[in-house]
């Protein structure tokens, strides 16, 4: 792996230089939250905002798996005819993505790039995207990435990873796509002596700052044998089934396929859905295998920490903490997992 450095005051130049060849997205403030926003002109997004301690409210999943995807449109007066959308192939850079979101890409790849049913929409968007990640010197109190196989500087899934060293960034060049970005700019230098040690210190300190202590293998071991445990009877009680956790989750990928029409025009769309909703599994006969909050909460926990592991050898959670931070009733998944691991 190649490593470079770039002075902080060069960063804006580097990113602005990308605008001629790429669409560039970076975290920007919108009302009280950070969102990934498209940079329209040099300097219209203050890059320093995105490297602070706070992650974007929404994850990057919508860049590859938009909340609403049009498969085709049609005119009801012309049976059998359908028009497919033309997907953009404009190259784009997403700047300032956090390791938890970057790691979620492996989960999505496992689902949407299978040999049997590769998803053409997802693959096209992945191909045109380069990701510049930024490590987290100061993780939030809701972070638990170290427990789910990642870490505040985990680079898996990114093309470049930036580490904030104070007056400069150490830049880890992880892929060819990343190398293309670095080669196109004059702002990068070779790391001076002592820089890598400084990085190691920062990484260690950040990891230590994450106080969570979930033993993910132990959790899996319990889940393997406790589908019918009384634990599930009460753990869901607080949940109001709003689905916020699933919408903000960087790995949740459940969807529905439905038709929307207006007059004679219509379209077949894929739209995010949530396992927390009773209609999600409701049969036309009226039967429902996940009829109450108990079954739905169990499904969410089981899917992330057992079923997905059984099928893909990784947990479907990156420890980003959004579900903890934004749950309206403070149902903390870390507490659920801790209860499980002492069971």
């Amino acid at each position: 792996m190649k490593e470079k450095t770039i002075k902080k005051n060069e960063l804006a130049n580097f990113v602005a230089g990308l605008l001629s060849d790429y669409q560039v997205f970076a975290p920007a403030k919108e009302e009280e939250s950070l969102v990934l926003k498209e940079m329209q002109a040099e300097g219209d997004i203050d890059l320093d905002i995105g490297v602070g301690p706070v992650n974007t409210k929404k994850s990057i999943k919508e860049f590859f798996f938009p909340q609403k995807e049009r498969f085709f449109s049609y005119d009801l007066t012309k049976p059998g005819e359908m028009e497919e959308p033309v997907l953009s192939d404009k190259k784009r850079v997403i700047f300032g993505v956090r390791p938890c979101d970057v790691n979620s890409i492996s989960v999505f790849d496992a689902i949407f790039t299978s040999d049997q049913y590769p998803d053409p929409y997802y693959i096209k968007r992945r191909e045109r995207t380069t990701i510049v990640a930024i490590g987290c010197n100061k993780p939030e109190t809701t972070c638990f990435c170290v427990d789910t196989g990642g870490g505040p500087f985990s680079a898996d899934g990114s093309d470049l990873l930036l580490v904030d060293l104070g007056d400069e960034y150490l830049v880890q060049v992880l892929t060819e796509k990343g190398e293309t970005l670095v080669n196109g700019s004059s702002g990068f230098s070779e790391p001076k002596s002592g820089v890598l040690q400084k990085r190691d210190g920062i990484v260690e300190e950040a990891q230590k700052a994450i106080k969570s202590d979930i033993k993910i293998k132990k959790v899996k071991g319990w889940l393997d044998n406790n589908f019918d445990a009384p634990f599930w009877d009460t753990v869901h009680e607080k949940c109001i089934g709003c689905g916020t956790c699933t919408y903000l989750c960087p790995t949740c990928h459940c969807f529905d396929i439905l038709d929307e029409t207006k007059g004679e025009k219509g379209e077949r769309i894929r739209i995010w859905d949530s396992c927390m909703y009773p209609q999600f599994t409701l049969h036309a006969s009226g039967g429902n295998p996940r009829k109450s909050g108990k079954e739905r909460m169990r499904q969410r926990v089981m899917h992330k920490f057992k079923y997905f592991v059984d099928n893909n050898e990784m947990v479907a959670c990156t420890g980003c903490g959004r579900c903890v931070k934004y749950c309206p009733v403070n149902l903390d998944i870390r507490e659920v997992l801790k209860q499980i691991q002492v069971s």
């Binding site: 049609y74 049976p79 049997q116 049913y117 038709d259 599994t281 499904q299």
Partner: protein
């Protein structure tokens, strides 16, 4: 890259009202493009998503047999908005189909074995496909005795009546059609499916049994089969679940780590015994 979400175009060639209550219709479709027909390869067991612009998609078991070239058949119970929309379609209408999806009955395992088909109500669809396939002249010699037990609440609710008559005349299939209670004009068998199964099923040695029907029928048939000595590895079921994508990723049809749409819909009882009872 093949896009798994785009339906292929088919034309409704024939609509058959199957039942006296007028709730189940069969639709025979033809492929509009030859290459779609060639790609649509299946063995009995899978389902497909039927697609109607403006209404959406829903999964239905394929009732035709691959031996019926160029024909794709579905038998559809009118039960909600989407099936209501299908029932309003007519011969000549163009509709979409996405599939075949899911696995098929393990036919290679049935070779040189007795095969018992147990079915009730309108769940007979993919078993009609299987029966039709096995008794086809190209295939019949691959299997030993074929026993079909098929029941409905009353004679008016039986599907594929003309075909049942034909099968009844053949000596290479033991057909047992039964209804729940005596009915005017019915001179056939009367009795519930589990009871009839107990009477007519062959010895369980060297036999496979395939069961498909309403939950209550399955609940009472399984103990009968176990009593007859069928091990769970040779009891085969086809499951229904709410499904959408049909390719194992939209998240709603899983039982434990298995997806009914992709890993099923066909499972052995042995496989189901390993999974949580969430279905």
């Amino acid at each position: 890259m093949n896009n798994p979400y785009l339906p292929i175009k088919t034309r409704i060639e024939k609509v058959i009202m199957e039942t006296e209550d007028r709730n189940i219709k069969s639709f025979e479709l033809s492929f509009i493009n030859k290459e779609d027909e060639e790609k649509f390869q299946y063995l009995p067991g899978p389902f497909a998503e039927i697609s109607i612009p403006g209404k959406g998609e829903a999964p239905f078991g394929i009732a035709s047999s691959p031996t019926e070239k160029g024909v794709l058949k579905f038998s559809i119970n009118r039960t909600g908005l989407f099936t209501e929309a299908i029932h309003s379609l007519e011969e000549g209408d163009i509709i979409g189909v996405r599939g075949p999806l899911g696995n098929n009955y393990p036919i290679e395992k049935f070779e040189n074995k007795n095969v018992v088909i147990v079915s009730g109500g309108f769940a007979f669809t993919t078993l009609r496909s299987l029966t039709k396939y096995m008794i086809h002249e190209d295939n019949r010699s691959r299997f030993n005795n074929i026993t079909v037990i098929y029941g409905a609440r009353n004679p008016g609710l039986l599907l594929y009546k003309d075909e049942l008559k034909e099968w009844g005349k053949r000596d290479d299939i033991d057909l047992n059609v039964t209804v729940d209670a005596k009915a005017p004009g019915w001179d056939g068998r009367v009795g519930f499916v589990p009871t009839v199964t107990k009477e007519v099923a062959p010895a369980s040695e060297d036999s496979y049994v395939i069961v498909c029907g309403p939950p209550i029928m399955i609940k009472f048939t399984i103990p009968v089969l176990e009593e007859l000595g069928f091990p769970p590895e040779r009891i085969i079921l086809s499951l229904e679940m709410r499904m959408k994508c049909g390719i194992g990723i939209c998240g709603r049809c899983n039982i434990g780590e298995k997806y009914v749409c992709k890993d099923g819909p066909v499972f052995t009882l042995a496989q189901l015994n390993e999974l949580p009872g969430e279905y």
